[in-house]
């Protein structure tokens, strides 16, 4: 009976092992869906074999996934893996050598540059951060004011204007630090106090992991309020995107044209924009630790090329050429 049991166990392990081997040897990556306005994705084949790891910003992650998929199709010798973890993880990961390319949806903080002075930033595009609310929230015509949003995030409880609109729960990012959260924190509280956007024992904020987690939280909580990257709102059901009212009463509607206009002002080193709050737009960066290898550089160049335009459109982000043409 013992030997029969052993045979059954070994047989089961063998079958599972063979299945894993067969599945692992087949490649079936989904091809990117090109929009009617985008060109067919191509890239100049790089005659090299390389293994590249990209990690960091969950904002850049879906863009990287699509770019990598297309790139590897034309460069079969290059294997690239994409992970998340947040902009902070991307910055320290590339600095400490655990990542070949770190991704960040922010300018690399001075503290990180001090620790890793060899980090080189390659800006591949830009995006904007916006507020989202659930479907049970009665969004006012002028949206929500920065003052009300800031007060709600400090206490974790919606202030009168928000609660009367139906907001009951306030969400922030669980991963700390996050480029998206830092952008919203800088906008609501100033750069020095941007850490107030994160959950702590006094503000009692609800948390969600990553941009996709924030969207999912609002989709399942119709009375919730959160902030996400604009790109994550594009194909999301069950959410609303309210306008944002600045301290001086300016109402900013959230749409691609306004964010693109603000990004143009951002990269022109303007301190404000008439299109969208300039603190809510940010660059999408690839980071390397020192000069990248030829394989890494080739991929980064592809990400910045016109062939990669389709990926930005698919994600709701903006490539550098798109921003410059705004």
């Amino acid at each position: 009976m013992y030997s029969k049991k052993l045979v059954v166990v070994l047989l089961t392990i063998a079958i599972i092992g063979v299945c894993a081997l067969v599945l692992g040897c087949t490649s079936s990556s989904p091809s990117p869906t090109a929009t009617t306005t985008a060109t067919t994705p191509t890239s100049t084949p790089v005659q090299t074999t390389a293994s590249i790891t990209i990690g960091g910003s969950t904002t850049v992650q879906p863009l990287s996934t699509i770019l990598v998929d297309a790139y590897m199709k034309n460069n079969s010798g290059v294997k690239i893996t994409v992970t998340g973890g947040g902009s902070g993880a991307g910055e320290t990961g590339v600095g400490s050598g655990t990542l070949d390319i770190g991704s960040a949806s922010e300018i690399v903080p001075a503290s990180v540059m001090t620790q890793y002075p060899n980090i080189i930033t390659y800006t591949i595009g830009g995006s904007g951060v916006c507020v989202i609310v659930g479907t049970s929230v009665q969004v006012p015509a002028n949206g929500f004011s920065i003052k009300d949003l800031a007060a709600s995030y400090v206490t974790g409880q919606p202030v009168a204007n928000l609660s009367s609109a139906g907001v009951k729960d306030i969400y922030t990012r669980a991963d700390n630090p996050s480029g998206t959260a830092d952008a919203m924190g800088s906008y609501l509280f100033t750069s020095a106090n941007k850490s107030w956007i994160y959950a702590n024992a006094t503000n009692n904020l609800k948390t969600a992991q990553g941009n996709d987690g924030m969207v999912a939280a609002i989709q399942s909580d119709p009375n919730g309020l959160a902030f996400v990257d604009f790109g994550f709102t594009q194909n999301a059901n069950g959410i609303q995107i309210p306008a944002v009212q600045d301290l001086n009463g300016t109402v900013y509607t959230v749409n691609a044209a306004n964010i693109k206009g603000a990004l143009k002002d951002f990269f022109a080193k303007q301190t404000s924009s008439t299109h969208y709050p300039i603190k809510l737009v940010r660059p999408l960066n690839y980071l390397t630790n020192g000069q990248p290898s030829p394989a890494v550089l080739a991929y980064i160049n592809y990400a910045n090329s016109s062939s990669a335009e389709f990926a930005y459109q698919q994600c709701g982000y903006f490539s550098m050429s798109d921003i410059n043409n705004a």
Binding site: G85, T92, Q115, D175, N200, A201, K206, T207, S220
Partner: protein, 325 residues
């Protein structure tokens, strides 16, 4: 120089030489040396692991003092690392998990060992042990997408509508199904096979004579189990429970997906919280490369290890004095 010890002869197995008293040193045979080497390697790994954790955590304990245990504010920019919220979250999670898992596991073990027909036992035991092989992230997904809505729309409001006058049953998070009860139930399913399997072994290892003697004196089956078998098996069952507690304390993936991640101490079974392991997972990506942040997160790990050591010690102390009544 090799000596042969006469006093240790009762422990000798043919062809082997046992370790002896300090007065005479005996070199073991080759298998004995290999076992000794394995034991030393295991101990070295444990010493290195725990030593590294405490060494990395030490600067935080030094700078924060008792605030690290009893403080509630965790802020990297303010250099404050109070982990009371996380400690209470982990303790609450563990207590509720054990409260759910223990009766279910132990009663299942009694059924499998004493009541179940052999054929049914042969089917049930592998099925229960199959639960061990399911990854914790799968449990988390199951809890999130399958149980989450059930708890949000049915279980939480249903229970709180009946028992809500009792503070522990107030539905403090009506907008979500995530919380202490959901996370605890999923954790209970995770530790159920551990407690059940070890408890079955403990019950089966009770000598038949105890059972036969009890029955021959006129005791019923339940009386035999309660008064003859369980007291003998209790130390093994307690060990099983301790292993379950340690697994519940250290579980990360399912907890981070189901506990809610809100930085407060849960006020009821349906409230969210924040466990120690979740904090490490959420922040380690960036802060592992920053000395102060890394030390703070390792401090959480160090406190978790201390809790597990205290749990084992308490269980051993209770087990030594335990009398089944």
């Amino acid at each position: 120089m090799i000596h042969e010890s006469q006093t240790e002869s009762s422990k000798e197995v043919h062809g082997s030489k046992p370790f002896s008293k300090l007065t005479s040193i005996e070199i073991p045979d080759l298998p004995g040396l290999i076992f000794l080497l394995c034991g030393i390697i295991t101990i070295l790994i444990i010493v290195f692991l725990i030593g590294f954790i405490f060494y990395t955590a030490f600067p935080t304990f030094q700078s924060q003092g008792l605030y690290s245990i009893f403080g509630t504010n965790w802020d990297y920019t303010q250099h404050q690392y109070g982990m009371l919220v996380f400690i209470c979250g982990t303790i609450a999670l563990t207590v509720v998990t054990i409260a759910i898992a223990c009766p279910l596991s132990i009663l299942t073990a009694i059924f499998l060992a004493e009541y179940s027909p052999p054929r049914l036992t042969k089917v049930m035991r592998p099925m229960i042990e199959l639960l061990v092989g399911i990854p914790s992230v799968v449990y988390g997904i199951f809890g999130l997408f399958v149980l989450g809505n059930m708890f949000k729309y049915n279980i939480n409001p249903g229970i709180s509508s009946v028992l809500g006058f009792i503070p522990i049953f107030r539905n403090l998070q009506p907008s979500t199904g995530e919380g202490l009860l959901l996370a605890s139930i999923v954790l209970s399913i995770m530790i159920l096979p551990t407690i059940t399997s070890l408890s079955v072994e403990a019950i089966n290892s009770v000598p038949r004579e105890y059972k036969e003697a009890s029955i021959s004196l006129g005791a019923t089956k339940w009386e035999t189990i309660k008064k003859a078998i369980m007291p003998v098996a209790s130390s093994g069952i307690l060990t099983a429970v301790v292993l379950g507690v340690m697994r519940a304390m250290g579980e990360t993936m399912a907890v981070v997906m189901l506990f809610g991640g809100q930085m407060h101490i849960p006020g009821s079974l349906f409230d969210t919280g924040y466990a120690m392991t979740s904090k490490i997972l959420n922040d380690i990506g960036y802060w592992v490369a920053v000395p102060e942040g890394r030390s703070a997160l390792f401090a959480i790990a160090a406190v978790l290890i201390v809790f597990e050591v205290i749990t084992v010690a308490a269980a051993r102390a209770i087990g030594g004095r335990k009398k089944w009544s």
